[in-house]
């Protein structure tokens, strides 16, 4: 089984490497059209030696860094149909971190992680790190380590442009759509129980329902909603009053302190030298009202 998955992983790397070549020199405009401009390039550090970190050692000798990302969240981690590489802010952060660890973007193997398999993938070593709208919380800290946060998202509402919902207080009696089992869906159920919750397995179905008017709002982390608002410009708008804090962290295998320090250093450096801002503006748009979070070395 192990062997089979190695072969499959190898094949996937090959395909990715090939496709990465094809992509070069033709930077697509930002995922979902949130930001724009040239795709930022990040420095790839040379002579990195993190021999204290078993994860880095293994990745270094294999020549590829496996990163778990989401592929269905516009603006953060999204893979367009027909495209071979994911795009978004998470992806840019992953590239920055990988660069500081000595891996160039074409040495990264993107593995799709969904909410239910992030922890098992990290625990079993299927991925070296996870950058997938991964909210830092105490339960998760028991089994994985977090570097960051690199962004603090908040739950917000996406509504039709002519909607009369102007704040979370207005959703009483309205139908609000989110993804089944997600934290935003649970928040609505617990804190705003006078709103009617509709859940699907993907945000795209919610957006379809919002378009047809079957639901009045779509709710999840603001960064994802910004991606959709940009995709459907003029049709939808984000309410802009986040009512939770979701600190996104980089998930790492537990007890690999050398790797965690290195990733934290990389995130701090990117916030100081402006690459963070570059990545943000390329993928999510205007960063002037966005605060960079403080890295938490717990």
């Amino acid at each position: 089984m192990k062997k089979l998955s190695t072969i499959i992983a190898g094949a996937a790397v090959g395909v990715l490497a090939l496709s990465a070549c094809g992509q070069e020199g033709a930077p697509e405009p930002a995922a979902g059209g949130g930001g724009g401009g040239e795709a930022p390039e990040y420095e790839v550090a040379e002579d990195v030696d993190l021999s204290d970190s078993p994860t880095w050692e293994a990745a270094n000798s294999a020549g590829t860094l496996t990163i778990g990302v989401k592929k269905d969240q516009p603006g953060l981690g999204n893979q367009e149909p027909g495209s071979d590489v994911p795009e978004g802010f998470d992806i840019e952060i992953a590239k920055i971190v990988a660069g500081s660890l000595g891996f160039s973007p074409d040495q990264i193997e993107w593995t799709e992680t969904v909410s239910a398999n992030r922890e098992p993938f990290l625990q079993q070593g299927n991925v070296d790190m996870v950058v997938a709208t991964y909210t830092i919380n105490d339960e998760r800290k028991k089994v994985v380590d977090f570097a960051g946060p690199y962004y603090v998202a908040g739950q917000d509402l996406l509504v039709a442009a002519d909607s009369d919902i102007a704040s979370p207080e207005d959703i009483g009696g309205k139908t609000v759509c989110s993804v089944d089992g997600s934290t935003p869906a649970q928040n609505i159920e617990e804190e705003y129980s006078d709103a009617e919750l509709v859940t699907y397995d993907a945000y795209s179905k919610c957006v379809t329902d919002l378009q047809s008017g079957s639901v009045d709002a779509v709710t999840t982390d603001d960064a994802i909603l910004r991606g959709y608002a940009a995709q459907y410009e003029g049709e939808f708008s984000v309410v802009g009053e986040p009512f939770t804090d979701e600190p996104y962290g980089v998930g790492l295998p537990q007890d690999d302190d050398a790797l965690r320090d290195a990733v934290n250093d990389a995130l701090e450096a990117s916030m100081e030298d402006g690459t963070w801002t570059e990545a943000f503006e390329y993928t999510l748009g205007d960063s002037s009202d966005v605060e960079q979070p403080e890295v938490d070395r717990y």
């Binding site: 909410s115 239910a116 398999n117 992030r118 922890e119 098992p120 919380n137 339960e139 998760r140 028991k142 089994v143 994985v144 139908t175 089944d180 089992g181 997600s182 934290t183 869906a185 649970q186 009617e196 919750l197 509709v198 859940t199 699907y200 397995d201 993907a202 379809t208 047809s212 079957s214 639901v215």
Partner: protein
């Protein structure tokens, strides 16, 4: 009470509600389809055969897609709330799909009833409906209890697809639990499998009992 247990309990209830309504629906639907397939009217036979061929060979996810996103286009809605609407739509999709399998199972049971019995019933003056409901179907149902059990257990597990279409059941309970307790993902997956196992085993026992009670000794 432990919030996790509560989550799973309400999820199990959701699954059972979908299962219960669909069970009644697909037994009725399956019987009607089977009756149509053996009826003397060619149009009914053809229509039932075409329906079974189309729906049985479409993945359930697609059947549900058509019901959940297609029917509202025709302005067909059920209940006052979106939740109720989704529940009914999911039950319709599950019923439409499972009826095909019930009908085919039942048809194999009908084939085991000797033709002479139907002919004898006709000879004493019973109409087609009476022949079917008094003579043929009672025997057919008894014969096919074991395969019917498999079809219905499969349907129980198929209810999990409804979670993707605004229904809260076991799979959504599992997703909820995983979102809150990222530290015990594998145990949560196992717990979900265990609940399905217990439900399916319970169904299996019921069918074993029915088989023992109702089987026709030949």
């Amino acid at each position: 009470m432990n919030p996790l247990i509560q989550t799973f309990l309400s999820g199990t209830w959701g699954t059972l509600a979908l299962f219960g309504v669909t069970l009644v629906g697909c037994l009725i639907g399956g019987t009607i389809l089977a009756a149509m397939r053996v009826s003397p009217v060619p149009i009914l036979r053809g229509a039932a055969a075409a329906y079974v061929d189309v729906v049985r060979n479409t993945p359930l996810t697609l059947v549900m897609f058509f019901c959940v996103f297609g029917l509202p286009y025709l302005d067909i809605r059920f209940g006052s709330t979106a939740g109720m609407n989704s529940f009914v739509l999911a039950c319709i999709a599950l019923t439409a799909y499972t009826s095909c399998f019930i009908a085919e199972t039942l048809r194999s049971g009908i084939a085991t009833v000797p033709v002479g019995q139907a002919e004898a019933a006709r000879a004493v003056g019973l109409g087609f409906g009476q022949v079917l409901s008094f003579v043929v179907l009672p025997q057919a149902f008894r014969t096919v209890i074991p395969p019917l059990g498999s079809v219905i257990i499969a349907m129980l597990k198929n209810t999990s697809i409804a979670s993707a279409f605004n229904n809260r059941e076991l799979i959504s309970a599992m997703r909820n639990a995983i979102e809150v307790r990222g530290d015990i993902v594998i145990p949560l997956l196992l717990a979900t499998a265990l609940i399905y196992l217990v439900l399916a085993l319970g169904l299996g026992r019921i069918f074993a009992y029915l088989e023992k009670k109702l089987v026709i000794l030949r």
